[in-house]
Structure formats: structure tokens, C-alpha cells
Amino acid sequence: MRHGGQTVRSQKLIPVLLCLLPIVIMVGLSSGAVSLSVTEILQGLLQTLQDSGSSQAAVIVGQIRLPRVLLAALIGAVLACSGAAMQGLFRNPLADPSLIGVTAGASLGASIMIVASGSLITGYTGLTLVSTGAFIGGLLSVLLVYRLATSPNGTSVATMLLAGIAITALAGSLGNLLEFYASNDLLRRISLWRMGGLDGADYPRLLIASIVGGAVLVLLPRYATALNALLLGESEARHLGIDVARVKLGLIICVAIGVGTAVALAGTIAFVGLIVPHMVRMLTGPDHRTLLPASALAGACLLVLADTAARIVLSPTELPVGVVTALIGVPFFISLLRKRHHYGMQ
């Protein structure tokens, strides 16, 4: 943020977000088709912990809302933190985790699974199959993008950007081809999946998200110093003692697995990976030692809020959460673009 050309860095953002996150989670737990008070939530949580959840509040909180809200928080954190890392790696504040092809590949993988499993397998097994397909599709396309951009001279991030665009377009058109031949029912399932949603949240999924998301959220901040140096340029980072090739590979693997898992569990959720790091950078500056953890916390808050809104706006019908994040995200993003000079962007 700028005041007369001087930088003002917020040192308090992380503590503020740390206080905000539990509040947002409580709001998420209390809102829905049935509103619950704080006391009811706490009683419900206690009963769930003691495994004696028989009251209505205990069932709603323990079985429905808690896994969903926690899944939203984890996925929001992974997407935002990955976005911040990608913007640093590509030295471009408009980069997005989907740039390396992971989202498009995952979408295609999911579409293939939906069409292939078709009407044979539905419900829980179908959902798991689709998630697996999405995860594999995401990883395969990142692998392809990485291979395309790697030559004996190293990996070029500029080529990776172009390869990512190419693979995204290819996966998109293959997906469209599938939709062209899909029945109306399958078509609707594909497009609903694409819009993203957390309605499939349950404890097994939460467990997967905790393990993968936890690992990614621990590993990414370890690259903070390297990312800070990388903003100067790749040779400059090397001259500052950073093993650039290893850092690139490590970051790509972390982001591919993190975002691949997020897309597999919750579909494509737009804009969290793009706008959250942006907002945080406006407040704290580009230092990744603050930016990465603050982005993770802010992403968690945003996605929990967006998912809560998605649940209650048209209650009892649910909006896909991807629609809500884009609806909140786009106007905010446009206002950022208009004010970019105020925080030192050209």
C-alpha cells in the first residue's frame, strides 16, 4: 500500500487472520437451512467428539457442517497459498495455479470418468472415481507441461506458461468433445462438477485433504526465501545462492499435488488462487515469508465464507461455490486492476 510513495506494511495481518478464521468457521457452522446458536454448536461438537451425537444439532454440526467447513478452509488455504507461490515463480502477479495446466487436466480427467462410469456407478463410489480421475488428469497434464518446458538448459518458466496455455486449450477441447457426445444427464453432471462444490464433504475426504493440504501448507512456506530472491530474476536468484532448478521442481510438485487434490475434492473453484495473494500482497508487500502463510489463512476465510453464502442464499438449494467465489472475485479483481498504480504495479 502506498502513501505518498512510502510503503506501509501491515505487520498485524497474520494475527488478525488467525483470530478471524475461527470466527468465520463458527459462522459457517451456525448458518444453513437450520440456524444454530453458538451454544448449540459447542454442544454438538462436544457430543460428536464423545461419539454420542444423537441430538439434531450434533448430527447437523458433526456429520454435515463440520467436515464441509473444514474442507472449505483447507482447500481455500491450499489454493491461495499455491497461487501466491505460482505468482512468485512466474514473477507475474496475474499468475494462477491453473496456469500449469493442473485445473484443465483435472477437469478433463473428471469428465472422462463421469462419461465412462456413466449411469453404471452413481453416488459415493462414482464421486470417488471422479475425484481419482480428476487427480490423475491434473498430475498428468502438469507432467506434460513440465516436460515440454524442460530442455537440457533447464526449465523455462516462459515456455511453461505457453505450454500450460496449450495443454489447457487441448484439455478444454477434448472436454468439449466429450460433452458433445454426452447425454443430457451426464452433461449436467459434468457442468455441475466444473462449477465446483463442497457438497461431497465427508470425513474420508477431509482426511485426504488434511494430509495432502497439511503437507503442502508446511512445505510451500519453506520456499519463501527462494521465492523472494526469484522475484529479482532467475540468474539473480542463482547468484544469491538459490538452487533455482530444485526450487522450481519442488514448487511445481507441491502446487500440482495440492491443487490437483483440491480440484479432485471440490471441482474448479475460480479466483481464490488469484485474488487472495493479490489482496494480501497489497497489505503486506511481496515478502513471501509473510505472503505465503497470510494467503493461506485469507484463502481459508474466503472459501468458508463463500461456501456459507452458497449454502444459504437460495436455501435449501445450494449454489455451486465456484459461482460465488467468481461473483465476489471478479468485481474485486477489476477494482484492483484499476488501482494497481497505488501499490507499485505498472
Binding site: G5, R91, L232, S235, R238, L240, G241, P286, M345
Partner: protein
């Protein structure tokens, strides 16, 4: 210890030879100036020393070790590089950019802050400390980048030799700041840091360098102390221009006057 020992080194990273048969030696505390027309291979020579392009044939020992034997992290503690162009477009503050120079060291916050104050003094960037880097003028950005590379090798750790590589460090600076930077370079050299500098300002090069290498089309046309390299014959061969060389009235170093 020698800072650089280079014997008959060639470089041809993309097929055609960029540099042929380059030989030079530089002691700790010495400054080497590199001159030559555009595209002569001046920046390539610096990139050879940083390992950004590979040497083929010949021998290249930097700071006492074969270049390939250096670990990236260890080398960064003794060698700093100022590139010709800076592409930084993220809104770091000036102070944050300069402190990036301390990345390879784990010297602690107190030491880093002390060095920050000293290098800001040496580059006159004190007043800019809280400004956003992307909003500075070209000359101000160059001073900040200079401060960053100075911070990287400002203190000598355990008597290990240091090497500073500068690609046109004063190109965007006004006269006062050029002089300030030259004084800092002299002081660094006096403290044992070896310096290799590419520049187009011959008089600045003459004022600082102990040795000068003149390059043309990748070949070393002349090499030696300023008096032997800065001659009308070398200028005719390297730059195809006629110049008059005089002794500077005060420093008695060569003074190049072009027509």
C-alpha cells in the same frame, strides 16, 4: 590468493563462438575493467565467470576453485553479480530489495541492519529506504541494485577472497553518484575484494582499474594496466575511432578524449 585464473577459455553456448582464447589473472584486491564495442562479448565474459554460460576448453579457476566445484550457496557468500538490466516488477520497498543481498548469509538481523545502513550510505539510497522500488527512476533503481550486491559481499568472512562482478554499474548514474560509486569500489578493492567491471566510460574504468581487457568480436585485443591498453592504436583496432590519450592532470591516469 588469485581471484580469477583464466587460461585459453572459449565459450560457445549456442553454436557460434562468443569468446575465444581468453586468458587473464586477477589478484584479490585488484580491479579489472572490460571494454569493447556492443556485442564484443563483455557480458558473456561476466556470465562465464558466474557459470551462467559454460566454458569449453581451457582452465577457469574462480576464487581458488574450478567453477563447477563451487556449490551455488557457498559461491554466493563470496561472489556478487550486478546484471545490466533489472526486471524486478514486484512492489518491494527499497530496504527489502537491498536486504535480499543478505540472502546467502545467515548473519542475523542485527548484522544485516548494520550492513544495510552502511551500503545505503555508500550508494546514497538512505532517502529512498521506504520508497517502492518499482516507482523509482532508472538511476535510483541502479543505485538500489548496487546497494544490494554491495550488501552481499560487504564484509569479508574468515579472510575468504571476494569477487564483485558489475555489468555497466554506472550507466544510468549522474556524475555525483558515479563518483560516489567509484569511491566505494576503490574502498572495496582496498579491503581485498576483487572487482570485474564492464563499462563504456573509459575514464571511469581508467580511474578504478588495475588492469583492462579490450574485447572485440569475442577476442582479447589487449590486456594489461590502463597505460598499455588505453592507447590510440587499441582504440582504432577495437572501436574503429581516433582518440587522443592524455594523462589526467591530477591522478596521472590515462584520460581518453574522443573527437
Amino acid at each position: 590468493m588469485k581471484a580469477i585464473q583464466m587460461n585459453n577459455v572459449n565459450a560457445a553456448p549456442w553454436g557460434p563462438a562468443l569468446l575465444e582464447n581468453i586468458s587473464l589473472e586477477l589478484d584479490a584486491g585488484e580491479a579489472l575493467g572490460i571494454i569493447g564495442p556492443n556485442g564484443a562479448g563483455k557480458t558473456s565474459l561476466l556470465q562465464l565467470l558466474t557459470g551462467d554460460i559454460a566454458a569449453c576448453g581451457g582452465e577457469l579457476i574462480v576464487l581458488g576453485r574450478e567453477l563447477a566445484e563451487w556449490k551455488t550457496h557457498e559461491r554466493a557468500q563470496t561472489m556478487a553479480v550486478l546484471p545490466q538490466l533489472s526486471l524486478l516488477n514486484f512492489p518491494y520497498s527499497v530496504e527489502e530489495v537491498i536486504l535480499l543481498g543478505r540472502t546467502p548469509h545467515s548473519s542475523g538481523r542485527k548484522e544485516d541492519q548494520a550492513i544495510l545502513q552502511e551500503v545505503m550510505q555508500a550508494t546514497d539510497t538512505h532517502r529512498l529506504a521506504d520508497r517502492i522500488y518499482t516507482q523509482l527512476s532508472g538511476g535510483e533503481k541502479q543505485r538500489v541494485q548496487l546497494a544490494r550486491v554491495f550488501a552481499q559481499i560487504w564484509r569479508s568472512a574468515d579472510d575468504s577472497p571476494r569477487l564483485l562482478l558489475l555489468d555497466e554499474p554506472t550507466a544510468a548514474l549522474d556524475l555525483a553518484h558515479q563518483q560516489l560509486v567509484m569511491e566505494t569500489l576503490r574502498a572495496l578493492a582496498a579491503s581485498g575484494c576483487a572487482i570485474v567491471m564492464v563499462a563504456h566510460d573509459f575514464n571511469l574504468i581508467a580511474a578504478v582499474s588495475d588492469q583492462i581487457t579490450a574485447l572485440s568480436a569475442g577476442r582479447q585485443i589487449a590486456q594489461g594496466p590502463p597505460e598499455t591498453v588505453l592507447t590510440p592504436e587499441v582504440f582504432r583496432e577495437v572501436f574503429s575511432i581516433d582518440v587522443t590519450i592524455m594523462a589526467h592532470p591530477k591522478t596521472h591516469r590515462p584520460l581518453v578524449i574522443s573527437l
